[in-house]
């Protein structure tokens, strides 16, 4: 039975440095949950708190309602897959997979049987006697997963396990990981700085920055309704238009964004709702949400194309309007459309313009 993992106001400090600042959330049993953030945001430290390699400085970690304080990593119902996999090079594939059983005193025959079962599951049958060094990157990946699953943990923790693979294999392994998770029904906690991984695989994502959890939500909400400026700028491409709130009415904001005329924007989450007239703010508009030369009445501005970049199925433009410069992504080559140097009209729907208080943005 998959167990919940609760982080109850967990903080971790190293001297003056706060690695994790008041993390408070519950990961539901059976969920594929990702911690997403740039390197140094504290996601690995949180993972180490859950696996038992790090004791929280404050707060507690509970797994299935049991407080984990003082319980060592070898006694927790978690299994960790390391970034470099940490397979044992001096053991064979089967010995690696059976290692958790060996240290629990399971006899050799039963060990081998379980290893063969798992090899079957990861589609590497009859490879048990190979050396680890004889495997490809993707195969090693699968062996690491099999080893972690050997003693049927309640929670599988994955620390950027795909980052060492090349793009094609990474995309393949994403699907495979998701499939394995659904097959075994365990709680997967996944650490990554790669938003593509987090968004494609996860049921829910926690975006972290500087030790703080910025937002916990499903991938679609994270993308469409970011709760903070950091989330808006870190996840996916985004234009951040700095402005001042001019007016508040019927759930929308009128913001001077320097585009020549005021823009109508939607407040982003609770933080956006708290914006008052006169407050400085950021309005986030995604490049793919900006239209060129569309006849709309709202948020429509004269602009000029100053850069054009062709990238196969999409085209990247930079357009200047007022004192702002925005990135625009268009599908297709747009032969009939506007090109570099043309004067155009840019527009975006108020629903796709998210207003949030001025705060830290992700550095590009």
């Amino acid at each position: 039975m998959a167990k919940d993992v609760t982080l109850d106001r967990v903080s971790v400090t190293f001297g003056d440095y706060t690695a994790v600042d008041d993390a408070h959330l519950t990961i539901r049993g059976g969920e594929f949950f990702s911690f997403l953030g740039p390197s140094g945001c504290g996601k690995t430290t949180l993972l180490r708190c859950i696996s038992g390699f790090q004791e929280p400085s404050w707060g507690e970690v509970r797994i299935g309602n049991q407080n984990m304080k003082g319980i060592g990593p070898n006694k927790r119902p978690t299994a960790l897959i390391f970034q470099n996999l940490a397979l044992f090079p001096l053991m064979t594939v089967a010995e690696n997979i059976a290692f958790p059983l060996e240290v629990r005193g399971v006899d050799k025959k039963a060990r081998r049987k379980r290893a063969d079962e798992l090899l079957e599951m990861i589609a590497l049958p009859d490879q048990g006697d190979k050396k680890i060094s004889a495997l490809s990157g993707g195969q090693k990946q699968r062996v690491a997963i099999a080893r972690a699953l050997a003693v049927e943990p309640d929670i599988l923790l994955l620390d950027e396990p795909l980052s060492a693979l090349d793009l094609k294999l990474r995309q393949h392994m994403r699907r495979e990981l998701r499939a394995i998770q659904q097959q075994v029904g365990l709680t997967f906690i996944y650490i990554t700085h790669d938003q593509g991984e987090a968004l494609t695989m996860s049921d829910r994502v926690a975006v972290m920055s500087r030790g703080r959890i910025e937002q916990v939500a499903d991938p679609k909400t994270i993308y469409d309704n970011p709760a903070t400026g950091f989330v808006a700028s870190f996840v996916g491409e985004n234009n951040a238009l700095k402005g001042v709130v001019l007016e508040k009415k019927s759930g929308q904001l009128l913001v001077d964004t320097g585009l020549g005329a005021p823009s109508i924007a939607t407040p982003g989450g609770a933080k956006g709702e708290n914006l008052k007239v006169g407050d400085p703010c950021h309005v986030f508009v995604r490049p793919e949400c900006i239209s060129i030369d569309m006849d709309t009445t709202e948020n429509n501005y004269p602009a000029r194309i100053t850069q054009e970049e062709f990238e196969g199925q999409v085209r990247h433009l930079v357009v200047e309007s007022g004192n702002q410069s925005l990135r625009v992504t268009q599908m297709g080559y747009g032969a009939e459309g506007a090109h570099l140097g043309d004067s155009v009209k840019l527009s975006f729907s108020p629903g796709k313009a998210i207003a949030l208080p001025v705060g830290e943005l992700a550095s590009a």
Partner: protein, 310 residues
């Protein structure tokens, strides 16, 4: 052989001919003049008779197995067919050397592990310095210091009796405890550094992975660290064993009145006995016995010579 040729060609290409020639000459001098030649001379000596100087090179100077026969059978005149004294001293020396090696392993493994896995570079440097600096004190001085430490009126007996742990001074010297302690201490670095080198390159994640998968600390060491450190373990253990078996100063100074180290017998033949051929034969015997023993044990633990070089 092809490996050596390839190495030499590559080396020449990278560093130029003069450096390569220098290396070749230096290594040759070292190997031939300092290693091979003296050993061969000793070997030659060991098959000769102990003749007075005028007869050397004369008609009586022929090769003989007399010196080796003496080691095995003893004095012809005594009528004994078995040189019990010398053989038993050799065995005792080997067993003592093995004990000292094991003692060093037990002492050094935890130190090397902590040193290798510590992430505090400053503390690491300090600890390594603390290990090295005591070795600036020369061997003789160190041996005498141990004698004072373990003597009947020494510091240890003084403390022990003061604290009431025992009321008669313990004869550490007579019991050879001082000797084992002195020898173990003398070669500690030769055990720590190969172990340290081997363990240092072990990925910390391997240890954490083993922990995470439920291994106790003992199991982590048994299944992950020790197999990985085996080459270092082997090279440390062989060095300590060889040097302990071949030590002379420490047994001379710290050995009890009844204890005799095999090297002391060799020394006596060369020095007091004035019988160089016999001394040479004994030295050759010690060398061959030690090498065979080490090779046997390495085979037992499945370590190849190549691994030791890593």
């Amino acid at each position: 052989m092809t490996g050596i040729t390839r190495f030499f060609n590559e080396f020449t290409e990278r560093n130029g001919m003069p450096v390569a020639i220098y290396l070749l000459i230096a290594v040759s001098i070292w190997m031939l003049l300092l290693v091979a030649l003296p050993q061969l001379t000793m070997l030659d000596f060991s098959f000769r008779q102990n003749l007075p100087p005028p007869q050397i090179g004369g008609p009586n100077d022929v090769y003989t197995l007399e010196q080796y026969r003496y080691f095995a059978m003893g004095n012809e005149i005594s009528g004994s067919s078995f040189n019990a004294l010398d053989i038993s001293v050799l065995f005792k020396t080997l067993i003592a050397a093995a004990l000292v090696t094991i003692l060093d392993l037990i002492i050094c493994y935890p130190v090397a592990y902590l040193l290798a896995q510590s992430s505090d570079a400053g503390a690491k440097r300090l600890l390594i310095l603390a290990l090295i600096i005591p070795y600036w004190v020369n061997e003789i001085l160190r041996a005498f210091a141990f004698r004072i430490l373990f003597g009947a009126t020494g510091v240890i007996n003084g403390f022990g009796m003061q604290l009431g742990l025992w009321d008669q001074p313990i004869d550490f010297i007579g019991q050879n405890i001082a000797l084992y302690a002195g020898l173990a201490y003398a070669y500690i670095l030769l055990m720590i550094f190969p172990l340290y080198n081997a363990i240092e390159s072990l990925d910390k994640n391997q240890i954490e992975a083993a922990r995470d998968m439920g291994a106790s600390w003992v199991q982590v060491h048994r299944h992950v660290v020790i197999p990985y450190a085996k080459p270092g373990l082997a090279s440390g253990a062989t060095m300590v064993f060889m040097l302990t078996a071949g030590a002379l100063a420490a047994p001379q100074i710290l050995g009890g009145p009844s204890s005799l180290w095999f090297t002391q017998i060799i020394y006596q033949w060369f020095n007091n006995g004035g019988n160089w051929p016999r001394g040479s034969a004994y030295a050759v015997i010690l060398l061959i016995v030690c090498i065979s023993l080490v090779l046997m044990i390495m085979r037992l633990f499945k370590v190849s010579i190549g691994e030791i070089g890593r």
